[in-house]
């Protein structure tokens, strides 16, 4: 308990430091909503969770959204608020199933979702120094990601995810800088039906990749 309190204090301190340049935060898709998402409130949720029982996002994703680099948790810093909020809603509804994220998302109110998405969308986190991946894997992944494969009718990832995987916000997430293990993991989720929130695009695409390609692809992106 004590340790967790200390942790929380540290996070709050970090929050104060990060909140200074909040002018950068983009408030996406707010024009038709009466309530504007509150990124400051989102930062507090990220740091310490909610009274309703959602734990702090920072516990896994870090307060700056860079997560821990293991790939067990995706990088979410600077991902569009539209996309992040959509994923949280899908975790809650079960369109996307995940034993960790689904109960957390269910514990968040619609305002919590909007606020925390707005917060992470506005964070510009540094990239963690990671071990250089196998050059041959990167080369193979790059060919698939940037060009595709005619023989197997795999189009390039960049067609939708933007040049070099930079993303096509608000709807389509960036892949560049995302952790290789996470991309491999989530491609398997598509293949096996744990993610159903883009069945006509990503499920079809993921099923064209074999197990090795799942990892290859991602090394390049990471």
């Amino acid at each position: 308990m004590r340790a967790s309190k200390t942790w929380r204090c540290l996070l709050l301190a970090a929050a104060a430091a990060v909140l200074a340049p909040l002018g950068l935060i983009t408030l996406v898709q707010a024009q038709s909503q009466a309530r504007q998402p509150d990124a400051r409130r989102g930062a507090v949720i990220a740091a310490q969770g909610t009274p309703a029982g959602a734990p702090a996002c920072a516990l896994c994703h870090a307060f700056n959204g860079a997560s821990d680099g293991s790939g067990a948790f995706p990088r979410i810093a600077g991902q569009s608020a539209f996309y992040l909020a959509g994923q949280l809603r899908d975790f809650a509804s079960g369109v996307r199933t995940n034993a960790i994220m689904s109960p957390i998302a269910k514990a968040l109110s619609p305002d919590d979702v909007a606020d925390v998405a707005a917060y992470y969308a506005g964070v510009d986190a540094p990239f963690l120094p990671l071990k250089a991946p196998d050059a041959a894997l990167v080369k193979r992944g790059e060919a698939l990601a940037k060009v595709g494969s005619e023989e197997r009718r795999i189009q390039s990832c960049d067609n939708c995810h933007g040049p070099g995987g930079a993303g096509e916000p608000p709807a389509i997430p960036y892949l560049a800088g995302q952790y290789a293990n996470y991309i491999a993991f989530t491609l398997r989720e598509w293949q096996r039906g744990f993610r159903k929130n883009s069945p006509d695009a990503m499920a079809v695409m993921a099923k064209k990749l074999d197990e090795q390609e799942g990892s290859v692809l991602n090394v390049e992106m990471g």
Partner: protein, 592 residues
Amino acid sequence: MAQRLKPVDVVTIGVGLTGSLAALELAETGLKVVGLERGAPRYTVPDFQSPAIHDELRFSIRKAMMQDNVKVAVSFRNNSDQTALPIRRWESFLPGQGLGGSFVHWNGQSFRFQVADFIYRTHILERYGQKFLDACGPELTIQDWGVTYDELEPHYDRFEYLCGVSGKAGNIKGQIQAGGNPFEAPRSREYPNPPLKEPYFGAIFRKGAESLGYHPYPQPSSNLSRPYINPLGLQLEQCVFCGFCERYACEHYAKASPQTIILPVLLKNPNYELQTSCEVLRINLDSTRKKATGVTYVDAAGREFEQPAELVLITAFPLNNVRTLLLSGIGKPYDPKTGEGVVGRNYSYQTTGGPTVFMDESININPFMSSGAPGTMIDDFSGDNFDHSQLGFIGGQYVGSIMTNGRPIEFHPTPPGTPAWGLEWKRAVDRHYNHTILIQQHGTSAASRLNYLDLDPTYKDAWGQPLLRMTFDFPENDIRMSQYIADKVVEIGRAMGGKIVVRGGTERPYTTTVYQSTHNCGGAVMGSDPKTSVVNRYLQCWDVPNVFSLGGSAIPQNGTYNYSVTIGALTYWALDAIKNKYLKSPGPLVHA
């Protein structure tokens, strides 16, 4: 001296839609088929991938996918009294070049023609009489196709399932279907895929059209609404509404094209050989001039080859089918003075154009989110769906909001009175870009004895052969038709809530400097009388029975609709006859 190659069973001149479809059907029967394509090979991966494929300057403005008119242009004039000049920049129509042909850069607008279109002359005479037709224009040379809708229906069906057309049936075996087009010709079953999602401009059009009592329906599209595996086992993806469809190739495997629906199977067939960058100069005939012996072509290195073949299929762009016949001396060239001869006769086009509807700033259209065939349409004014007896013209147009893109170089609607450049123009573009709806009028073009194709007496191509010369202006009939419908469509624009509605409609003279349509039609038309047709009802040349001319050149006069799916159906129809009749007993399939 041409190098003589090993004889094959079949050669196709062009490898686009008709060339690849025909080659597949025949290679599967065991025949050796060679496909000669004048352009380059190209495939979804790597040639059509982003970001290079979304280069608007390269593809839309500089027409990178179109026929290389530095090498082979088309010359043009409005009438026989003028001197034709070569078209140096494609604008009015865009003939494709390269593997897959124009069926790569098409929009995927996937209509069938109507029952009356195939028996057009008979239908008009029965309903309105000869006197009425004469009053519409004594120069009109409309005629029946020699094939009926019912005969083509199974082939339409087969082709739609090959493409994975996304739409909603309006008439299944005579039963009108809610949500579809009540005017459509009866189909044997539903489309293979449901219609695309309706964009906002379509929803506004739907509401406006319905309020006036018209019958809106979703445009059938070969940009797919969902993943689909076609009967050849080829998987297509879902269209993402990227806004780069016509004039572009699809990077997503989401648009039906030879590359996505035919070629992967054809190219694996050991009986098929593809040759690219090969310019066919002519079809060779034997001394009787009633039998083709093969073709002569030049490869990219300038070497000349003779490819002997038992069966020659002309499968180029319609204009080039006609030119190939003329260059080869097959069929009697049309003479507008005497009205005799057939090759080049009944060249027709397509009437297009429609109003621009400027909306309030609170209405956000987002035109950049679009596919090639995202429209909501009505057929109330198509073909002969309305009574013409008091109108003094034949024909009609479909009307629909079909906004295929909001691309920055091409799309900047401004109301009349806006300066053409400068600060005020920029302000107007800013004001109207996202708040403007285009409505398309798209329809028939009646054939006329004044309009035709022949060989240019002056201008030659890079190989020293005469260019094709186009002599064309819209008949007054078509102008009256288009202007009549333009008035009706202005009313729809107002019912949609347009603040300013700028009237559309076709005018004379026809110009090649403004994009209108790539549905160049006729010139080697089908029919049941060799005096008024180049090919019989099976698209077989009357004069040289081992030559078939497949494609839009066979259409005797243009119907209301985009003709691609009809070309697919005609190709299957002809191939059915070739496989089941001609191959068993080579010779004329119809005796005149």
